[in-house]
Amino acid sequence: MSAAGRRRHDDMPTVREIVRRPAWVLLVLLVALGLNIGAAFLPIAPFLKTAFHLIVAAGTVALIAFIFMEMEKKGPTIRLFAAAGFIWIAILFLLIFSDYGIRR
């Protein structure tokens, strides 16, 4: 059975059904952006601000990857490939902070 044959016209989603989820996620991301910008002006230690910014950024990246880029629907092989870049970056920064992070 071809891929087109499996897709019956009756199963076709409406535009509203397609838009709903990404639209909600977009709303969350825009609120997160607003929170991040607002937090930048709080009178707290720069270290805490930076940590907050990076946590919000990590959440934003996760939502883009899982929902917008549909990683949530993928099998373990594609997830492994997708995670590879992030894992190597994590190792890179672990090595950097094992030196620069503890310098006085």
């Binding site: 891929a3 397609i18 977009l26 930048a40 092989t77 870049g85």
Partner: protein, 219 residues
Amino acid sequence: MTAARITPAEKAALREPWEDIARQRQAVELGMWAFLASELLFFSGLFAGYTIYRSIYPQAFWEAGAETSLWFGGANTAILLISSAVVALVPRAARWPGLGRFARAMLWIGALLGVAFLVLKGFEYREDFHEHLWPGPDFKLHAEGAELFFSFYWCLTAIHAVHLVVGICLLARLAVAGARDPGWFTETPAVQATALYWGLVDIIWTVVFVIIYLPGRGG
């Protein structure tokens, strides 16, 4: 699975060495994620350099960050987030012949939002040059390390902009090719690959925005 069962639309989208479109789609997606991982590592070199120099010159990076335009940076971040949501609709819709026009419209809207990002970036760069924020003899700031911050600013934003230009071309190319051959458009894995690339462009910008535009605010 035999070649006789392949529809004309699938035949148009099928490439060597694959014998059926489902496998081609899986392979393209896997290869695309591997490519995106390599792109992340490409940018991670700049992120790592930024992190090291920020740990050496924390005060200068803080002062220099306050000189960037949060208005331009914030507006462009919102534009890219909206464009990502719009482009995310394309693979969800393109596989249904009845939604092909909608999917192609989303491609054009995504491309136009990308162009809007570049236009704002152009205005921002003009302001930066006017403010003498290009590292060199007339550089505005005097703190040691501030020039390094702006070296990262120019490198990161310019390389990201190059990626965005490539993304805009890919979106437009897909929209044009899809309008010419709607059958091909429902089957080609290029739809998924292009949407993934656009997602990565947004992911990179999310990090760039946080490390370039947010430091130094609020005193």
